[in-house]
């Protein structure tokens, strides 16, 4: 076994040292009922690297990689170009095979990286403090709601209808057990989100109002009024962002008065990976809320010789110290994804991020204009960043998406898949465009979409 260094002689010598005559002697405490004689049946035996590689490549070969096709999917996961050096960095054994930095004297690499990461995230979000990462955007969203209930001692959260439905699902799932009350709504198919209906739902029992920016339909609008409305009622504004690149062009949530800003960091450094591992970002605008934050925090300090160094700090918030009184039960977070994110962000810098955002927006505008020209297609958004919603005549968007896939094009996300059973959204298609998208691919999408829309309806095999 290529991964197991003990030789049979080693095993004999070591068993002897343990006063055991066979390995079974070390498992005596396992009750009879639970002992297995040989290796578990119905499972294959060990295999060579060559054989395993063949098997895995065969499975990988059954997937249509984004790089191999015109690609317009978004809805909370975006495909950006990741510089080659990012993988060089996260592949360094000292980062890859380290644990949570519990021994800071030999974990300064991870700790300084996290300190830089926290600073980048805080600045991107327009906040004072960011933590060292959570699992992903959706769980970060729930942690924000939970934190808001702790801060305000209220237990009602108002979710905007245009919050990513998976995120809303996660919040509702958690809340049903904590007894928190979650007020949700369906997204209204309007060119601009209707903030008045949202603010009107805020009352004296409201701990927080949760708004996505840009929202699930790709719409962007100024949230200052929501912040004011929330603050007026003593509630917090939680802003959710699923596309960090957008904040290289758009005003930050912090600037608009958000109290807690959470989001998905996958777009930078991490990649698509079929949905995980991703990167939960979590920041607060006001430092006074720091002690209510979930997750790890890295802080600056000095060592016995007065040299600057970094440590995990404020651990009294955490489960390993506070146990049932912890601000969250999270332990392992998304360390390596944070490293990928911060490395990519360092390569971009202020200049690169703004250029990247501009290029994304330029191509998205191009795509929106072009698709609008397709008969049967109308653009919903007034404003957007790199993702927008188009309404399709005729067949439901979910079938159109399948038709396009059959033509080797991943043309977008049908809102019908995200909102099963919601009539109003059946014909809405969410189209995302990044720097990875070529103008040719936009043209291809437009023409193929036209072809699909005009071909007479026919039943498609179930997805």
């Amino acid at each position: 076994m290529r991964y197991l260094p003990l030789t049979d002689t080693d095993r004999e010598e070591m068993l002897a040292k343990c006063g055991a005559s066979s390995i079974d002697d070390l498992f005596v405490d396992v009750p009879e009922v639970a002992r297995l004689d040989g290796p578990i049946r119905d499972l294959p035996m060990h295999a060579s690297e060559m054989a395993v590689e063949r098997h895995m490549k065969e499975l990988a070969g059954k997937n249509l990689a984004a790089e191999a096709t015109p690609f317009f999917l978004g809805a909370g996961a975006y495909r950006h170009h990741i510089p080659a050096s990012v993988d060089t960095v996260i592949s360094r054994g000292e980062f890859l095979t380290a644990y949570t930095p519990y021994q800071p004297e030999i974990a300064q690499g991870t700790l300084q990286m996290l300190f830089e990461f926290q600073t980048q995230v805080a600045r991107l979000y327009g906040c004072a403090v960011a933590n060292a990462s959570l699992y992903d955007g959706s769980t970060a969203c729930w942690e924000a709601v939970a934190m808001a209930t702790r801060v305000t001692r209220r237990n009602r959260a108002v979710l905007s209808g245009s919050l990513h439905p998976h995120y809303a699902q996660v919040v509702k799932t958690m809340a049903q057990f904590t007894g928190d009350e979650i007020a949700t709504a369906q997204p209204a198919i309007t060119p601009e989100p209707n903030l008045d209906t949202l603010t009107s739902r805020i009352d004296e029992d409201t701990a927080c109002v949760v708004v996505q920016y840009p929202d699930i339909l790709g719409r962007v609008c100024d949230l200052s009024t929501v912040a004011e409305a929330a603050h007026a009622k003593g509630a917090l504004l939680v802003v959710v962002n699923t596309e960090p690149v957008a904040l290289g062009a758009l005003k930050s949530p912090g600037e608009m008065g958000a109290d807690i800003v959470v989001g998905e960091g996958q777009a930078l450094g991490v990649g698509l990976q079929f949905g995980g591992p991703y990167l939960g970002l979590f920041a607060v605008r006001d430092p006074k809320h720091v002690r209510q934050m979930p997750g790890r925090l890295c802080g600056e300090t000095v060592d016995a010789e007065g040299k600057r160094g970094f440590v995990l700090t404020l651990s009294t918030r955490e489960q390993h110290i506070r146990r049932e009184k912890a601000t969250s039960n999270i332990c392992t977070n998304s360390g390596l994804c944070a490293l990928a994110f911060t490395t990519h962000m360092t390569l971009l810098g202020e200049k690169g991020l703004r250029q990247l955002a501009a290029e994304n927006h330029r191509l998205a505008c191009l795509a929106a204009d072009r698709l609008e020209k397709v008969p049967g297609v109308s653009l919903l958004n007034h404003a957007f960043f790199n993702e927008f919603t188009v309404m399709l005549e005729g067949k439901p968007a979910r079938e159109i998406v399948r038709d396009l896939a059959d033509r080797g094009i991943l043309g977008g996300v049908s809102l019908g898949r995200l909102y099963p059973g919601v009539e109003a959204l059946e014909h809405a298609l969410l189209v995302a465009v990044t720097e990875n998208t070529t103008e040719d691919e936009i043209e291809t999408l437009a023409s193929e979409l036209e072809a699909v829309l005009t071909q007479e309806t026919q039943m498609e095999p179930a997805q």
Partner: protein, 520 residues
Amino acid sequence: MNAPNQSGWKPQMEVADATGEMVTTTGNRALMLEEPLIFEIGHAETTGVDLPEVDEAAPSRLGGLEREEPIGLVGLTEPETVRHYTRLSRQNYGIDLGFFPLGSCTMKHNPRLNEKMARLPGFADIHPLAPQSSVQGALEVIYQLAEWLKTLTGMPAVAMSPKAGAHGELCGILAIRAALTAAGNPREVVLVPESAHGTNPATAAFAGYKVENIPATPEGRVDVEALKARLAPDVAAVMITNPNTCGLFEKDFRTIADAVHEVGGYVYCDGANFNAIVGRVRPGDLGVDAMHINLHKTFSTPHGGGGPGSGPVVFSEALQAYAPLPFVRRGEDGTFELVEEETREKSRGQTFGRMTAFHGQMGMFTRALTYMLSHGADGLKQVAEDAVLNANYILRSLEDILHAPFADSGPCMHEALFGDKDFGGGLSTLDLAKGLIDEGYHPMTVYFPLVVHGAMLVEPTETESKASIDQFITAFRHVTERALAGDEALKQAPYFAPRRRLDETAAARKPKLAWEAPAE
């Protein structure tokens, strides 16, 4: 900003070395290199990518929300970036460098084939919402891994989406709560041993339960009688770690499980220590209702300095129906289907909901499946046996000089537990740990579990050679002798690490959690 840097950081910093002699003007010590923060060497104008200049005149449809203020980010070119992170990495300890016996964390070797497979575009470059017909291979990976986990645990169902162990715990407790609620009463209490990992009580509390401690016997196991005495209709579940955090197998697990079931409660097993029994014992045979598996422990997906992890949860018949969405089903025609809200009616009608966006830690699934295929049923059994053998070898090689509270409780499982009894000169477990750092080791887990004074939890895993463990034992004995003798010098350790002991109190007193440009 085109100043050499934003902070006035001076590239040179006179610093003496550990022994106060041999000053270097850079603060570097040959290959032990100092590295400033990116904000001290980067510029707002510098970038490591080549993108088109921003065309201010270009049409904008941002709804008038252009970001005008500087964001406050700095960039580095690729050469500076690679060097910055390489230098930082060299201030880190990892499994690749040496023995990393961090108890309860299963720091085993991370096979490089797993990394290679996870990077195949067919896995790394696919979108979670891509039409299912275009990602059949990915769904098959999830399906195959799920089958492995069910077979290895002897449980009928598994939820793949939890993002780490603690998330898995939540998933399990929520399923239990859902089942109890469906039965009419969620109940109030979850029983947790004192020796449990912090995530257990934190999880139970998060799920709205009151946490009560289960006492332990002097030999380091759950006190079955005390537990039985407490069992009542208000008890929703017990959360027991097996093998437990004292490194022992809970002999009476089955008895406990039966008792809990008798009062209508459920048994949650913390599977963080599955590595000790994988391939040799199926938790399903012990009466477990729900158990999370840390793929980043037993199945060797890398810890990455704190994550990502992956914590699938296996379920018993009783809880199966309440498992969260989504999950993968194989159709009669052999195609794989992702069951989401959209298709929920098809099954898991009573699902308690969704743990996360999308479908879980795919990148970890590919690694874990690669690991399982490489080891096979025989290899995994050997994994458990070698892990347990290494731990017992360490226990028996140190018990003569180091207090081993449960040495007489029979063989340990995959970790050996010691305490700091008899240390001289006011020295503590922490001092011994720092002494090990100078010797070239990552210390074991310290001060956990809480049930042992100055606990030291040593988990060697199966991927260490006897030579490696022998050297560790020699070093450990050496430092232990210094500790018993009250060697003052140990109080100052480590001497050779990139940093001497760091002031954690100062860090917490006035937290500096983000960089700020020093006032001019």
